[in-house]
Amino acid sequence: MYSLSDKQIDFILNDIGARGVKMEDLQLNLLDHVCCIIEQNLETDGDFEKFYHTTIKTFYKDALWEIEEETINLLIFKNYYVMKKIMILSGTVSAILMSTGIFFKFLHWPGASMFLVLGIVISSLIFLPLLFTLKAKEKQSVKDKAIVGIATFSGILISLAVLFRIMHWPGANMMGLLFVVIMVAVYIPLYFFSGIKNPDSKVNTIVTSILMVMGCGLFLTLVNSRPYIQEYSALVSNSYLQNSYESFSDENEQLFASLTNDSAANVKSIKVLHSKSDSLCNSIEKLKLDLLNATEGDNAQKVNYDHYGRLENYDVPTFSLFSEDLSPKADLMQLKQNLVALNDYCKEVLNFNSSKIIDVTDGSNKRPDGNATWEVRYFYKTPLNNVLRNLTQLQINIRYVETACLK
């Protein structure tokens, strides 16, 4: 039985480290194992170095670090099947959520954004990273692993670009463009040149590459399309009107305050007019807020267009304001009655004809899809954007009438 010296033990430990085994635990296991073999099999006067090198070579096929790699693989992939199941489940769930979201979006039903966001988040943060982890394990060469990595990164990027676009968050276009650049400049050339070398996958590689280039081109067109411009034009005009209404309200408030201190003014009728205008404007503001919250699935407390997008929804205003037989619901009926009451009050008490400015008569501008009542003309099957604009215009008109009467 051979007896190892401390120096020889240090030599073995250093050699194991030099051969690429870095896990301390594994180094000590291998050290003890080699030492046992040497002690059991080497003659007392045997050649230590020669025997050691012969022995250590029996531990591996190509290199000693393979044992460490296998250990890491077993530790990381001990849940391989669980990961695979989670990947399939998350992929299915995100596909269902995204399809439901797109379906809801087409029908302008509330909740579409929630489904889409959940679908994209699950896909980007669970499905694609798991897909990469499992696919990278299957690939042998570093190049193939890199291709899978780039594909996954591009997939996450495009998913997030769509998510940011839907949610109107900044940076969506930047991510979309980065996706196109990575695809065209890195991924497609890598994929093309690695696949074309293999006769079995040659045709498939060419067709897929062409399809990917076409997809990138279509995506680029979509990013720069006109709806994107319309989105902001609607936003700007709604914000502009809203600001005008709010400034108008503030000015009227000051005017009202100065007149109530004026002994010559008819304070009683002014107070009634101001209270009627305020109540009408507030009820319209609430109506706008309700419509916005119903469409966006939001719970905003104040009308602020800055975080909304195109608001092209046709159905929510119609469902919210009208019954199935085209007759207006209570809120809209009440609004019309109050507007008529305001016109009557201005005419009878303040001797001012406001019915031209606040025009709630039926008859003109006949629509092809319904009778031409005031409600139908302004609110029925009208995009939310325009409904909101019409309501704000109404508020401005009320304030205008109020100003005219106060003066």
Binding site: D25, L26, D32, H33, C35, F59, E70, N73, L74, K78
Partner: protein, 111 residues
């Protein structure tokens, strides 16, 4: 005849757990020698298969470890944990059922 590593790979965890059950605490080299002896040198567990498996069993909580200094080097002993003890029976039964199925599938006649 030494069995191929492909055949042994799927049964290695079961073999190691069973050895630990029968012998209490064991270290790596001891396990390889014991298996070699019991199998009449027909099963040779390689270092490249044994240590990754032992680390995986430790990570799964099926074995506990304790270290002992042998001069300048450290020896790591493995011992079954409570969950490891429960797992052995399950693994051995599973393997026995698998062997029966293989016998039937491959139409192996036993004497």
């Amino acid at each position: 005849m030494i069995y191929s590593s492909e055949l042994i790979k799927g049964t290695l965890k079961t073999i190691v757990l069973q050895q630990l059950k029968q012998n209490g605490k064991m270290y790596g080299y001891e396990i390889t020698q014991k298996v070699k002896e019991l199998s009449k040198e027909r099963i040779a567990i390689t270092e490249g298969a044994l240590y990754p498996t032992l680390h995986a069993l430790e990570a799964d909580g099926l074995v506990h470890t304790e270290t002992e200094y042998i001069g300048k080097r450290v020896r790591k002993y493995y011992r079954l944990s409570t969950s490891g003890e429960n797992k052995v029976l399950e693994k051995v039964n599973e393997l026995a059922e698998f062997m029966n199925t293989m016998k039937f599938l491959l139409d192996i006649k036993t004497a």
